[in-house]
């Protein structure tokens, strides 16, 4: 005869830690309905799915939960959370799982991008002066070749600009010609905008790395620069 599993007798250290850290995450309310797993494109990868993961957390399978590389295949897209009748916050669990990996064991591509962002203000590690040079060079070319944009201004760190606009580092680094269309739009509407030189990139790999300290540092540096140096009223996310 099957024996009853007494949850109180299980050692569920990871479950207890994440539940304490995330009291609103409702890990114990899972009804095992499977709505999450049914609508998750990552289901079955590495023999895992969201429903199974929450069961494993509940049963104290700490090592398996903490070690599965599924934590890096799930994109924390929150479709499971959105559809869950009990609002079990699986994406936050995945974030905690990622954080439980020693930093140097987390995927090196994501770690490298996070480290570059902390060091250089963008995930591709381009020096600020190169970013500024590229921006000015591309803007000059547009002004010279298209008379409709001969007065187009593109600035970095212009104090008092109404809007600060971030920029994914992919454009200035790998495809600078893709910078132009957005600037043309901004010129046509006569937007009062500038790029910040500090933490100017739109991407955020420290979030993906689950590096709270790095993520917070990037935000603090950014806020300090916008509020104290530039005084912009609005920050515009370009994606």
């Amino acid at each position: 005869m099957a024996s009853v599993i007494e949850l109180d007798d299980l050692d569920r250290a990871f479950h207890d830690t994440v539940s304490e850290r995330l009291p609103q995450a409702n890990f114990d309310l899972c009804l095992t309905c499977g709505t999450c797993a049914g609508g998750c494109p990552a289901s079955a990868q590495f023999d895992m799915d969201p429903r199974k993961l929450v069961r494993m957390l509940a049963y104290g399978l700490d090592e398996e939960v903490k070690k599965t590389p599924w934590a890096w295949v799930c994109t924390m897209c929150a479709r499971c959370y959105w559809s869950c009748p009990m609002k079990v916050d699986i994406p936050k669990l995945v974030y905690q799982m990622r954080q439980s990996w020693p930093r140097d064991k987390r995927p090196k591509g994501i770690r490298g991008s996070c480290d570059q962002h902390i060091r250089a203000g963008n995930a591709m590690g381009v020096p600020t002066e190169d970013f500024i040079w590229t921006v000015e060079d591309v803007a000059e070319e547009i002004r010279e070749t298209d008379p409709r944009f001969k007065d187009m201004h593109v600035t970095v760190d212009r104090k008092g600009a109404k809007m600060a606009i971030n920029q994914n580092s992919r454009e200035p680094v790998t495809e600078p010609d893709e910078l132009g269309p957005l600037w043309k739009i901004l010129h046509i509407v006569e937007a009062d905008w500038t790029y910040p030189s500090v933490m100017w990139a739109g991407e955020n790999y420290c979030l993906f790395l689950a590096d709270d300290e790095g993520w917070r540092y990037i935000l603090e540096e950014f806020v300090q620069h916008i509020d104290n140096n530039l005084g912009c009223e609005t920050v515009v996310n370009t994606e």
């Binding site: 600060a164 269309p181 043309k184």
Partner: protein, 178 residues
């Protein structure tokens, strides 16, 4: 910033909300006339971060308003499901740099099939991760769609898109308006 309770004096907005505001106020002279006879079909990828995880239908609606103004309402073919219920492309959460390429592409197969169902020639991807992932799965699974940024179409619709700004357009549009 909410997560870490960092105080700040500025407000946050997205370029999509600004595009919508500028189109409504007449500041952006966009038109979909260029596509009235061409009837090029587009679909939209709703990025999880700004749609499901932040402003939900409000953002999904603004995104569609902007896109329809540029391509023509009859030329938008939405994926099923879409909006807040959309499937992630599989490139989010750092997956593009995560090193698990096989799993990332298997994940993306759901998105690929969704796109193929629409029979659209173009996927509008207002997020760089989505853009890269949707291009990659398109090549991997043999799709023949192109993936574009909104700013490309916006400038195309205003007749100001430069010759060197057309990397992501297919042969049907690469010379339009030049």
């Amino acid at each position: 910033m909410r997560k870490y309770n960092i105080p700040h004096n500025f407000e946050f907005t997205t370029i999509i909300q600004l595009y919508a505001k500028w189109i409504r106020s007449g500041k952006l002279p966009v038109s979909s006339d260029w596509n009235r006879d061409l009837q090029v079909k587009f679909t939209i990828q709703d990025p999880c971060n700004i749609v499901r995880k932040t402003l939900r239908h409000e953002m999904a609606d603004e995104l569609r308003f902007v896109c329809k103004s540029i391509i023509g309402e009859e030329n938008l073919v939405d994926m099923v499901p879409c909006g807040s219920n959309n499937y992630c492309c599989g490139g989010g959460g750092g997956a593009l740099q995560g090193g698990y390429t096989e799993q990332r592409r298997a994940y993306g197969k759901v998105k690929f099939d969704q796109i193929q169902e629409t029979e659209a020639t173009y996927v509008i991807a207002p997020c760089h991760n989505c853009h890269t992932q949707i291009e990659d799965i398109g090549k991997h699974y043999g799709g023949n769609y192109h993936v574009v940024h909104i700013w490309t179409l916006m400038c195309l619709a205003m007749g100001v898109l430069g010759e060197n700004e057309r990397t992501y357009l297919g042969p049907d549009l690469e010379n339009l308006g030049l």
